[in-house]
Amino acid sequence: MVAACLMLLVVAALGTMLFSASAPSSAATATITYDTSAYTYDASSGLSTQDAAASPRGSPATLTAASREDSVSLGRFGVAAKSVPGAADDIAVIGRQWDTAVAKDWPGHEVLDIPKWSPAKNDAWVNGIIERQQRVYIASPETKANLWDAVNNRTTVFGRELGQLFDAGYMRSGDYLLPPG
């Protein structure tokens, strides 16, 4: 019971740290939920340990048929995201790399998959999603281990992606994030 309460506090604190400090008023009512099954707090040792990796989310049910590569130019750190379809409402996919990799072949979904990846290019890609008001599919469970690098005391790339989108006013709808307005 004590361990469970402590774990909830840790997860709640993480959520506050990541998403609340600079979130716009439009996102203030967003409900942030976390999957906690892949993270165990041991009260006797005072240590937290990762369980086996949580299962990735599967392919979303609503797919649209499409067949073209879609390159997106994003300024100084321009990147070409891999996208199978071509509709204006392409869905961007974020998450841990091993989870988003399976989405590369999903019609209507855009995954950043470039050989010379960098954080700057990742930021530019997410900013492009925000500018285009794309919907976003969250491919990985939002566990603490997926969002926070406790060894280095910093967010993971996936955690940073989520933070950018929430800061821009994106709102959760199931496993999706929807643009403001």
Binding site: L47, T49, A53, R96, K116, P119, D149, V151, R160
Partner: protein
């Protein structure tokens, strides 16, 4: 090898649950030497493969944190040995981490550390790459193919800074 490189003690040293906050801790500390001792046991592809089999993604996160720290420590102490141990740790980290994006930026620090030490990054990266078999040697070799901007500290989210002890690379996010 008569003794397993990554025995239970080694796995404990690299357990992320035993290393919370290690990346930003005072440099150097005792953990650095413990990890360096493990890394020094890897001399070629067979030891690399043995270590890789024993490690999980979480261990890789700790190895990558060590690599970042050694990049700073190498510059601070003008130590090519620390630089090479950092490179070897990062190569192993990239072979086991689940999401390479959280580890790969450390290569920019190691590359820059080479430059600051007056060493040849191409030679240093290549000399460590041969400790692994393909495709595990590829991340280091691929990094050398990047243009200046793609491998820069700026694009990887770091700056050159100092703490109370001396030179240190710092993450900007």
């Amino acid at each position: 090898m008569s003794v397993a490189i990554m025995d239970s003690i080694a796995l404990s040293v690299l357990d992320p649950a035993n290393n919370e906050g290690y990346g930003s801790a005072r440099l150097p500390n005792g953990r650095d030497e413990e990890i360096a001792t493990l890394i020094r046991q890897i001399h070629g592809p067979s030891e690399f493969a043995e270590a890789k089999r024993a490690l999980s993604s979480g261990h890789g996160t700790v190895l990558s944190a060590f690599a970042e720290r050694m990049a700073s420590f190498a510059v601070r102490g003008t130590s090519l040995q620390s630089l090479r141990e950092g490179l070897a740790a990062e190569q192993l980290a990239l072979a086991v981490v689940g999401d390479y994006r959280d580890s790969l930026p450390a290569l920019s620090l190691l590359f820059r550390a080479c430059e600051l030490l007056g060493a040849d990054p191409g030679a240093e990266f290549a000399s460590v790459a041969v400790q692994a078999s393909p495709p595990d040697d590829q991340p280091l070799l691929d990094f050398l193919e990047r243009d200046e901007e793609d491998r820069s500290l700026t694009s990887m989210g770091y700056v050159e800074d100092h703490d109370e002890e001396g030179f240190r690379f710092e993450r900007t996010w």
